[in-house]
């Protein structure tokens, strides 16, 4: 048997069977499993960054004069790492949209590639709009 499996041989009932258990390191067995776990893990740094954002909003509530933005090298490094995870999550999530969404146009199914392209297009437009609003407010 594969290393790490633990025995659980059933007793009494007929027929007797062996029930293998998933080893703790199952997600290291295949590249696809590892990438899946990375995708799931992206929620952790993104949650931490959003908690920080909430703290910043709370700090900004005391007025523009008392507020100063976080700009330490450690914070910038942390933000870049979070951005990497966020990008990985967004790209994998949007790439799956073509699999999930089943649309028809003029009675014909819309190809998954078109749906994925449209999702990335909307993401780009939304990002440009939000960036324009933020830059506009900052001026």
């Amino acid at each position: 048997m594969t290393e790490g499996d633990e025995a659980e041989a059933s007793t009494g009932a007929t027929p007797r069977v062996y029930k293998p258990e998933m080893p703790r390191g199952w997600w290291l067995r295949r590249r696809h499993y590892l990438l899946y776990m990375v995708r799931e893990f992206t929620a952790v740094p993104m949650a931490l960054w959003l908690l920080w954002l909430l703290a910043e909003i709370h700090r900004a509530a005391s007025g523009p004069k008392a507020y100063y933005p976080a700009a330490s090298p450690a914070f910038i490094v942390f933000s870049v790492i979070c951005l990497g995870f966020a990008m990985y999550h967004s790209i994998t999530f949007l790439s799956l949209a073509g699999v999930i969404i089943h649309l028809k146009f003029m009675g014909k199914p819309v190809p998954p590639r078109t749906i994925v392209g449209a999702m990335f297009g909307l993401w780009l437009v939304a990002s440009v709009v939000i960036a324009a609003v933020l830059i506009g407010f900052a001026r």
């Binding site: 048997m1 293998p20 696809h32 499993y33 699999v99 969404i101």
Partner: protein, 247 residues
């Protein structure tokens, strides 16, 4: 020229003698490039050790009986060519995530129960009389469900699914794909009979979209797609006005 040989390691488990399964090695001739892993098992059973137990039937990728783990990957052994592994050894184990009955034979009772629970047949509220003729379908209507109907119940997708491995209560990939096959069939009216199984907490919502089920499927079915589309469908029915209307 020396005869080409290959080492096959297979799981052995005798429920009357063994506490845990073990691996046994067999050195056999690899005489023909068209040999598949199932041929190796048949050679061992016929010429080396007649006590080796495993399931197989059609030897042509149709019956779905000979699914096993080949070097850690769920495969139909009748479609796994030994030339793709030689000169490395080949390790053949029973499909993972299932109880082992003996050697390479798994207990498929759980899957059979799940398969039955989604009612994989055409359900009609009222059957047409025979005299009314056949239920006609257009090619577009058939294309809606065609790929899901290719499932041969080989259970490779269950062996590849860590969610099922961690929680055997999960309905799983093949059962959901077959439920979708009938729910998308224009002749079927059984959606509401299947929804309680599909939409409960151990149904489609247990899936966290690993996607490996679709990778290992030997028939090109996409169970991960069936599960995610069913999630979308059940959500739409729940959220939208008249979403729960009779179909």
């Amino acid at each position: 020229m020396a005869e080409k040989r290959i080492t096959i390691r297979t799981t052995r488990f005798d429920p009357d003698k063994d506490k845990v399964p073990r691996l046994q090695s067999y050195d056999i001739p690899f005489s023909d490039d068209s040999m598949v892993v199932l041929d190796a098992l048949n050679h061992i059973k016929a010429h080396v050790d007649g006590s080796l137990s495993y399931r197989w039937s059609c030897r042509m990728g149709i019956c779905g009986s000979c699914g096993m783990m080949v070097n850690g990957v769920p495969k139909l052994t009748c479609s796994a060519f030994m030339r793709d592994y030689w000169p490395r050894s080949i390790t053949v184990e029973p499909l993972q995530n299932f109880p082992i009955v003996r050697d390479l034979v798994i207990d498929m009772e759980d899957f059979m129960h799940k398969l039955k629970s989604i009612k994989p047949w055409i359900i009609r509220k009222q059957e047409y009389p025979l005299g009314a003729g056949e239920h006609r379908q257009t090619m577009d209507q058939i294309d809606e469900f065609r790929q899901f109907s290719e499932c041969i119940n080989c259970m490779l997708c269950y062996a590849a699914c860590p969610v099922y491995g961690l929680n055997n209560e999960f309905l799983g990939p093949a059962a959901t794909a077959l439920a979708r096959r009938y729910n998308l069939d224009s002749r079927d009216q059984g959606l509401k009979d299947r929804l309680p199984v599909l939409a409960n907490s151990e149904g489609v919502w247990e899936c966290s979209f690993v996607g490996e089920c679709s990778v290992v499927c030997p028939k090109g079915v996409d169970p991960a797609k069936a599960i995610q589309q069913t999630k979308l469908d059940t959500t739409t029915r729940f959220v939208l006005p008249y979403g729960n209307r009779e179909e």
